[in-house]
Amino acid sequence: MIQCPNCKHQELPGALFCSECGTQLVTADTLTSPLANQPIEPLEFDEQESNPTVLPAQGPVVPVKNVVISLHIVNTDRTMYLTGRSEYSLGRIARGQPILPDFDLSEFDAYSQGVSRLHAAIKVQAMRILIMDLGSANGTRVNGQKLVPNVEYPLKSGDLIALGKLKIEFQTSTD
């Protein structure tokens, strides 16, 4: 049996996608040690709120309260704060684009840094925060490790994200 890195559902060998949550289980690219195999650090919770029977440990799209995500654009003095939603897409806005990213990185010279229009998404779940490359042209790296497109990887505070060549430091804090 193989285990889905996202929801821990058991699948038969040879399965390409998780039948439970749709996560891609195989790589089209070669990746030596997927980050997804690293132990996932649960986010900090109040004792009262972290009742695991109430919050599904691997459930989809359950916003975490009190967690503020900050993205610091390396080599600038700018930091973006993500609050209030469970998912944020990052990219840049170009003319005639049908779907706009939630956060436009154009002002950080995104085009010449190789940021795609819809580059990556950051998702906040019950116990963790995930990043997923949205099939960008130049790829997404976390601490130098390249991500397989459309597969979610856990993020922890202090990780260095690179969208193309644009480097962003990821931090979490509680309110």
Partner: protein, 490 residues
């Protein structure tokens, strides 16, 4: 009548195939089993055909008497791609995917294009009154104007009974048919079997030219009650006759599971008409595909070893549709210049054999090509992989990965629907939320929102909404029509 066609055989039929076809035909047309007019004459034809074909010498003489064109090599091909290069020798079950590509290698020849007989079966129950009927009328007229003058159109209308509104006519006088179409009025209940059965009869009665493409377009906006099984039987008989059924559902109050099954039994598909544009698009597509049709039907027959099961079959192109996993599987028509692509999921229970190769399935694909003297062509296929003792990590071919990334969402949606029907609301809404996350990840925010709203509706009402179930299902299907994601540019 030509001997091969009498027995539904290809020109290169093997002696075993000739015997099998003969026994099949005899069982159906034997004097003791007679049920139809003309069966007696048919039975004599079958006997004559068999006696000639089964005898090598007489067959060779007969073959020489046939036109030169029958001896041309076939131009249909069946290619197989796999999700893995090897399979694993193991006591544990495993999955493997095969992507079948049916293609016609010949360039389109306008002289070879067969004319089409399109029969429209129109629901004129009272719920169709007003806007819906207006939309259908306008599009029927569009269809009448765009069909070729060699094509034949017939129209059947039904409510709780059915009548032939326009008997099969060549489109030499479109204005007259148009005026009949304008006169259609609504009233009564919906009994789909009535319409379907009469439509099928219209095809049978109009047997004059058998080399027509035969399309049955069912247009309805409602549920049918109690006659589903009889409808499936008509669809199965239609498949045998090479008639493909396309089922169009208008609005939200129709049963998509029923129409899907009905259509896929005959090699067609179901289409969701949520707005007038959808109907326009369907008609345009239909006209386009009639003008590039090579084989009016193709079907797949597989034999599987005992420890192998075919879990799932899905056509990803053209006419995106799940397929009935019952042999023969109707794969639908084959066009010039465009593959018919089908993805198959096989489960291999356990593999202990010491053979270096494992046959996963073997069988045949049959094509019915109206432009040929002997319309049947048959290609053998063998789905097999070398066996290894170790499980190796390997790269999945992009075509299969792309298809499966979409299909996995479609199946997630199917799963959620099944769970909701079974009353497992919790699992169902969890799967809907996962689906929403996937749509969101692909940048498909409309579908993501629909799925989230449906999860909400599900928790409140313990069932899917008529609207949501169709929006999600057909929305997920439409993902197959998107260009491949790897083509996305900076």
């Amino acid at each position: 009548m030509e001997h091969y066609s009498v027995l539904n055989l290809p020109f290169d039929a093997t002696p075993a195939e000739i015997r099998a076809a003969y026994f099949d035909a005899v069982r159906k047309y034997h004097p003791d089993a007679q049920n139809g007019e003309g069966d007696g004459a048919r039975f004599i034809e079958i006997q004559q055909a068999y006696e000639v074909l089964v005898d090598g010498k007489r067959r060779a003489v007969y073959d020489r008497s046939l036109p030169e064109s029958t001896r041309e090599t076939s131009v249909t091909q069946v290619g197989v791609r796999y999700s893995r290069t090897t399979i694993h020798r193991s006591g544990e079950p495993q999955l493997i995917y095969a992507l079948l590509d049916l293609s016609c290698t010949r360039k389109i020849d306008p002289n070879e294009l067969p004319p089409a007989h399109v029969c429209v079966i129109l629901d004129r129950s009272s719920s169709m009154r007003g806007e819906r009927l207006d939309m259908v009328r306008a599009n029927l007229i569009r269809l009448i104007r765009k069909l070729r003058s060699t094509d034949v159109l017939s129209i059947v209308t039904f409510s709780d009974r059915a009548e032939v509104l326009v008997p099969p006519v060549a489109l030499s006088d479109p204005a007259r048919i148009e005026s009949v179409v304008m006169g259609i009025s609504a009233g009564g209940a919906t009994e789909i079997f009535q319409g379907l059965d009469l439509g099928f009869e219209v095809f049978k009665r109009y047997a004059g030219r058998s080399n027509f493409l035969k399309h049955l377009i069912l247009i309805t906006d409602g549920h049918t009650y109690g006659d589903e099984k009889r409808c499936y039987e008509v669809a199965e008989r239609a498949a045998v006759e090479g008639i493909s059924i396309h089922a169009l559902g208008i609005g939200y109050e129709w049963n998509d599971t029923f129409l899907d099954r009905l259509a896929s039994l005959s090699g067609g598909n179901s289409v969701y008409i949520s707005a007038a544009e959808d109907l326009v698009q369907f008609i345009e597509q239909k006209i386009q595909s009639l003008s590039v049709n090579y084989a009016r039907k193709s079907e797949l027959v597989l034999e599987l070893p005992e420890h192998v099961t075919l879990n799932y079959a899905f056509r990803i192109q053209p006419n995106v549709s799940p397929l009935e996993v019952n042999f023969p599987i109707q794969l639908g028509p084959l066009e010039y210049g465009r593959n018919t692509s089908v993805i198959l999921e096989f489960k291999i229970d356990q593999l202990q054999s010491v053979e270096p190769d494992q046959i996963i399935a073997s069988g045949r694909v049959y094509f019915e090509i109206p432009s040929k003297t002997i319309p049947i062509e048959r290609q053998f296929i063998e789905i097999k992989r070398p066996v290894r003792n170790t499980w190796t990590k390997e790269k999945t071919p992009t075509a299969i990965l792309t298809a499966m990334s979409r299909l996995s969402l479609y199946r997630l949606q199917e799963k959620a629907r099944k769970e909701a029907v079974a009353g497992d609301i919790e699992s169902s809404s969890l799967h809907l939320k996962y689906l929403a996350s996937r749509f969101m990840a692909q940048g498909n925010q409309d579908l993501a929102r629909t799925a989230m709203m449906e999860a909400d509706h599900l928790q409140k009402h313990q069932r899917f909404s008529d609207e949501g179930e169709k929006d999600i299902k057909y929305g997920t299907r439409s993902l197959f029509l998107l260009p491949d994601p790897e083509l996305k540019k900076l």
